[in-house]
């Protein structure tokens, strides 16, 4: 039966992440201003939350009391703008490790399983368009190694992780067409040159860097049996999460805006229709409606995932809808709130402008809004390859 209530455990988890974020806000501005962090400042847990339960760890244990593991997870992401990292992201964001866990052989897991691995897909001139990627591996029969050349950028936490899983083209045997191959790269290998962190518009806590492969030699065992499609297959899980994270910042900004309007004597009154509202209130209500609309698409996708399993493709269109809707809403909501708040909102004295910058990435990564629309349209029209 259709139900939008939260379980007590849902609420508890939401409160936990929300409280933790409140605690973290004290450090948010400093972290935002620190453009380059070498090495990552946080390993382990920040003292400010050392005596608190880790909400995501807790979730693992109590998910049967929630609306569902992935649903509760999304609710938690939507409840906290994650202005800082108070806990080492470690395994959670190690998507390369996830690929290894899902597609590695026992031997590979044995060899690399203890490492936190980032994932390297994007290239400077190719974005994430496979056809345009130039990174290349050739097999060296003599040494039973692959030799890799190329460059990968926009890699989350590569600076703090132990290595990466990278997608590169592999020369076909006997001159056949090259295919995609997925390799585990471990830091310290000669020829794996880490690029400096990228300076970004927002989410500066989210460290992003890259690497150059220069005649980088990896053993044959480093090649995983995970093709591009498989590597991307848990994007269905991640896409609504990207929305959820952006919506969390939007929620913070909407709350901030409501509070400041209230302090300025502008009351929100939902009983009035448009014609009875001030311009600021009308604008605010429209932005708030975008938020709630996005919330529904995220929850819907996560509910389908909960029913069907993370690796199902049965909710891929809904995952794209959640991503496309939430990420665009985040652009509109943050731009709109700053306009409502006026000049004062430009100041770094408040986090408003940070949220405005932070969420802008949501419509770009894990498949830009345009990609999501291609995927959604293909589903609508029953197309496979048409549209690009």
């Amino acid at each position: 039966m259709v139900d939008f209530s939260l379980t007590e455990t849902d609420k508890k988890l939401i409160d936990l992440v929300r409280e933790e974020n409140e605690i973290g806000r004290a450090f948010a501005r400093e972290l935002d201003r620190t453009m380059e962090i070498e090495p990552s400042r946080l390993r382990g847990v920040h003292p400010a939350v050392a005596d608190r339960e880790d909400p995501f760890e807790l979730l693992e244990g109590v998910h049967e009391e929630t609306s569902g593991l992935v649903i509760a997870e999304a609710l938690m992401f939507m409840a906290s703008a994650q202005d800082v990292e108070l806990r080492d992201v470690g395994g959670h964001e190690a998507f390369g490790s996830m690929v290894l866990r899902n597609f590695g052989t026992d031997v590979q897991k044995e060899k690399y399983g203890h490492l936190n691995l980032a994932i390297g897909i994007t290239e400077p001139d190719a974005g994430s368009d496979p056809g345009a990627m130039r990174s290349y591996a050739r097999y060296d029969q003599e040494t039973d190694e692959y030799v890799l050349n190329g460059e990968k950028i926009f890699i989350s936490f590569f600076n703090k992780f132990d290595g990466a899983v990278a997608l590169v083209k592999v020369a076909g045997k006997d001159g056949s067409r090259p295919e995609f191959g997925t390799f585990v790269l471990v830091k310290g290998a000669p020829g794996l040159i880490e690029s400096p962190q990228m300076r970004k518009l927002g989410v500066r806590k989210h460290e992003l860097s890259g690497f150059v492969m220069q005649d980088l030699r990896v053993p044959a065992v480093a090649r995983l049996d995970a093709d591009f499609g498989k590597t991307l297959s848990n994007f269905n899980h991640n896409r609504p999460i990207v929305s959820a994270v952006a919506l969390a910042s939007c929620r913070s900004l909407l709350d901030f805006t409501r509070d400041k309007l209230k302090a300025a004597g502008v009351e929100l009154d939902y009983t009035q229709g448009t014609s009875g509202r001030s311009a600021l209130v009308d604008r605010f209500i429209r932005l708030e409606s975008l938020w709630e609309a996005s919330w529904g698409t995220v929850m819907r996708a996560k509910w389908l995932e909960h029913k069907q399993g993370m690796y199902s493709n049965g909710y891929r269109t809904e995952a794209s809808i959640a991503k496309a809707m939430g990420a665009k809403a985040a652009r509109d909501i943050t731009q709109g709130c700053l306009e409502i708040l006026g000049p004062e909102s430009l100041s770094e004295e408040y986090l408003a402008e940070k949220w405005f910058r932070d969420v802008r990435i949501a419509d770009i990564y894990e498949g830009a809004g345009e990609i999501q629309r291609v995927l959604i349209a293909r589903d609508i029209f029953g197309y496979k390859k048409e549209l690009s």
Binding site: M1, V2, D3, F4, S5, L6, T7, D10, S67, G68, I71, D269, Y270, T271, Q272, G273, T274, S275, G276, I285, R286, E288, S289, L290, E292, A293, S294, G296, T297, M299, R300, W303, L304, E318, I321, A324, M325, E370, Q372, R373, V374, I376, A377, I380, F381, Y383, E386, L387
Partner: protein, 358 residues
């Protein structure tokens, strides 16, 4: 616990209404628009589905199911859905807020074999009308009240036996059950309207109408007028979602088949992306409406979410109808296709605040 699964019963009702809509409602939409009149056989057939009546029984009352049904009907014809939602608004206001006498009288009229037109009368004939600025006023007078004012855009007014009039009363607002034949009630000729033409929207003037004590909704305690507005906003959002879904369903085969400069329209990014956006917005609307309706059904305060659902659906439905028309080009502008009618209906349903109910 968050769940998007409809019950088997809900699915069965939706499917039944969907079939009925496809076979009976949609085919008449154009002719009703042209005539500016509902087909009475159709409306009687809908009445016999007992959608409204069942909602008025204690164990049949489900705002959520009512919302689902309105979306399905509106996918065939927003005018028909609004007509149903108008009667529903009247009946449910009495069911939810009425005294036992009022409910009993309602039950009598629900026994009629054919469609019963009954309407809320909320809007007033002024430009820039604000739902917070009602001018129609009731004052206590003797053992009852006297009602003065005018209401506009009342659906099927000339067919209604009775109106539920929302008016200022004392410090707040109250609703009054006013028979159409009461002295001082003047139902004007339907003004023809740009959209929802079969609704025969009319102005109704209340010139010092005497109203007995027992006709105030909820009796001397009055009633929660805001909840009637909330229910209307959510109902209208559901109707808009149905209309948006109809545009999507109509556009998809057309753009796949229509070849322009050697490629189907659907393969042009600008078209494909707009169709994707229609899908995105329609789904987003639907889940918002579900939540508003669920809040109503579970007795939570739905005022905020109803306002947001209505605002979002209104903005997006107008855009969807507009984009749908655009994709059809010249064919969108002529009456051979329903796009131009939907364009008119979208504008109408999204500004008629307070004509519906779930």
């Amino acid at each position: 616990m968050i769940d998007f699964e409809l019950t088997e019963d809900q699915k069965a009702v939706c499917e039944m209404v969907r079939d009925f809509t496809a076979n009976e409602v949609a085919p008449l939409a154009r002719s009703q628009d042209t005539a500016g009149e509902l087909d009475s056989a159709l409306m009687d057939a809908i009445w016999q589905l007992e959608i409204v009546q069942s909602q008025c029984e204690p164990d049949g009352r489900s705002a959520f199911l009512a919302g689902l049904v309105l979306e399905e009907l509106a996918a065939g014809d927003a005018s028909v859905a609004t007509a149903v939602a108008s009667t529903m608004a009247y009946c449910l206001a009495i069911t939810d807020h009425g005294t036992s006498d009022q409910r009993q009288a309602l039950q009598e009229s629900l026994k009629a074999p054919g469609f019963q037109a009954l309407s809320l009368a909320v809007m007033e004939p002024s430009f820039g009308f604000s739902i917070g600025g009602l001018k129609t006023e009731a004052v206590a007078s003797g053992a009852g009240f006297r009602l003065q004012g005018a209401k506009s855009m009342v659906p099927l007014a000339s067919r209604c036996r009775s109106f539920l009039v929302v008016a200022r009363y004392q410090e707040g607002e109250a609703a009054f059950i006013v028979p159409a034949d009461a002295a001082g009630v003047l139902v004007r000729e339907p003004c023809q309207t740009v959209g929802l033409r079969p609704l025969e929207l009319s102005e109704v003037v209340f010139d010092n109408v005497g109203i007995p004590q027992g006709a105030m909704l909820g009796g001397s305690n009055g009633s929660n007028i805001q909840s009637i507005i909330d229910a209307s906003r959510t109902a209208q959002a559901c109707i808009m979602t149905g209309l948006s879904a109809a545009v999507l369903n109509h556009v998809v085969p057309y753009v796949k088949e229509r070849i322009v400069h050697g490629t189907p329209l659907a393969q042009k990014q600008s078209v494909a992306f707009r169709v994707a956006d229609i899908r995105i917005d329609t789904e987003a609307m639907r889940w918002m409406n579900w939540r508003s309706a669920w809040e109503i059904e579970t007795g939570q305060n739905p005022t905020r979410l109803s306002a947001l659902s209505y605002s979002f659906a209104g903005e997006k439905t107008m855009k969807i109808a507009d984009e749908g028309l655009q994709m059809f080009g010249g064919h969108g502008f002529v009456q051979e296709h329903p796009l131009e009618m939907w364009y008119r209906n979208a504008r109408a349903i999204s500004v008629l605040e307070g004509v519906a109910g779930i």
